[in-house]
Amino acid sequence: MMGFRAVLLRDLRLAIRQSADLALVLGFFVIAASLFPFGVGPSPDTLARIAPGVIWVLALLSVMLSLDRLFQQDLADGSLEQMALSPTPLSLVVLAKCLAHWLTTGLPLIAIAPVIGILLNLPAEGYAVLLAGLALGTPSLSLIGAVGAALSLGARRAGLLIALLVLPLYIPILIFGVTAVDAVLTSVQPTAHFLYLAAILMAAIPLAPLAAAAAVRHGVEG
């Protein structure tokens, strides 16, 4: 558990000291969202209709763009190798890194999502369910993303490769996140969608770090 805390605090400290990275991700989130009114026309009804989907897709892409931060630097400066050699189980280290990644990417995205909701004219009753869905879904994005990031360690064009590996696996989260908001907007209970999101998260917490740790170990050795 000490190793877990140490990695978590270290990654958080690193992320805060390099907060320009975080600003870039959030900047991408906001700027990409502001493209949609130009793309589909600024009619409030159209924007309100697509707002949940746009916010979710952009949250997905923003998380994906920040995934290389997870292992790439640590591989380059050798600290990943030290973590792999340390007595702390590597899957626990990966879990700590995922938690740090979520705290420094997912959480800020959730905080800024209401602003984008306003830009896109999201109806007032959609906010609570959108934020709850993001809170339940973005940790899974970090966890599944860690698998993709670990698998592409040392590959050519790793950034593009991560997109190809991770986006198909993100689709279920996207579906349930968006349909939860749509359900509330058409006055249906969103409980079932939340249960699906929670189930995905509960499966990802134990399984994704295992797969990612195996891939990290291979990436470090190669």
Binding site: S152, L153, A155, R156, A211, A214
Partner: protein, 271 residues
């Protein structure tokens, strides 16, 4: 079983079996085509378009089957470090990918006359599309490293991660409201286990005639349609095995070539 994990041993057996597989597969497909295209009746609702089924169902089955083969090969590679498992997975991936594309294309050609649309975003079609993306991801990852042997383990892990999608495809027609019909072959069995939902279709998204068509679909096949379908299924499965062995031969040769080259380079010049 582990005796055949030696690639050399396995290939010797596979090379002996290959001509038999080909000899069995061609007549089966020929008979399947004959019964499918001539000697079976058109569907009372769909007319002649029902014959697309004889290609669509076997390719759908094999697109998923090839992924399972890939995942099993990857698992045996990761667990027992059998190099053969990795070779099998690498060989099965492009074949499964092509079957998946054929399945999606024939499905959408079939969808146009029967559902009135080439594509709908429902559970079965979407999960099949995700399967195609998983194949793309696997092929990209397996070939993304300068040293091809470096890609083996990441690709194997990805194949195992992606396997969650397979049951999702299989049961997508039972868990969600979908336009796609229920299982063609094992309809009764799965229906009994999971409780065949009323063929409810989200009416607000679909035109009325479409919804009615979907509601009447599914169920049992008459024997004269079942026969060509089974022939085609068996024929396509054997074709898959034949292609797999041919690709395995290629992968095996390229691995040997690489190790020969590496050995050659390791020799000091002029020594």
């Amino acid at each position: 079983m582990h005796r055949f994990a030696n690639p050399g041993q396995f290939m010797r057996v596979a090379d002996k079996v290959l001509p038999w597989i080909v000899a069995l597969c061609l007549p089966l497909i020929a008979a399947g085509l004959y019964f499918g295209l001539y000697a079976s009746p058109p569907d009372f609702q769909q007319g002649e378009t029902v014959r697309i089924m004889y290609i669509h169902v076997p390719t759908a089955f094999l697109a998923q089957g090839a992924y399972v083969v890939m995942a099993l090969g990857s698992a045996s590679f990761l667990i027992w470090k059998h190099p053969l498992g990795d070779l099998i997975a690498r060989s099965a991936a492009p074949i499964g990918c092509v079957f998946c594309i054929i399945c999606l294309v024939t499905g959408s050609l079939w969808g146009r006359p029967t559902w009135g649309t080439y594509w709908v975003w429902d559970a079965r079609l979407t999960s099949m599309l995700i399967l195609l993306f998983l194949y793309f991801g696997y092929l990209a990852l397996a070939n993304a490293f300068d040293d091809p042997a470096r890609g083996d383990k990441p690709a194997a892990i990805l194949a195992l991660v992606g396997v969650v999608n397979i049951p999702l495809i299989k049961f997508s027609v039972y868990f969600f409201n979908t336009l796609h019909q229920k299982s063609t072959l094992a309809g009764d069995l799965f229906g009994a286990v999971f409780g065949e939902p009323e063929a409810a279709v989200q009416a607000e998204n679909l035109p009325a005639d479409l919804a009615a068509a979907a509601a009447q679909q599914g169920g049992d096949l008459p024997p004269e349609m079942l026969l060509p379908l089974m022939l085609m299924l068996a024929g396509f499965t054997l074709a898959f095995l034949a292609l797999l062995i041919l690709r395995l031969r290629g992968e095996f040769a390229s691995v040997r070539l690489r190790s020969l080259r590496a050995g050659f380079r390791a020799e000091p010049r002029g020594a």
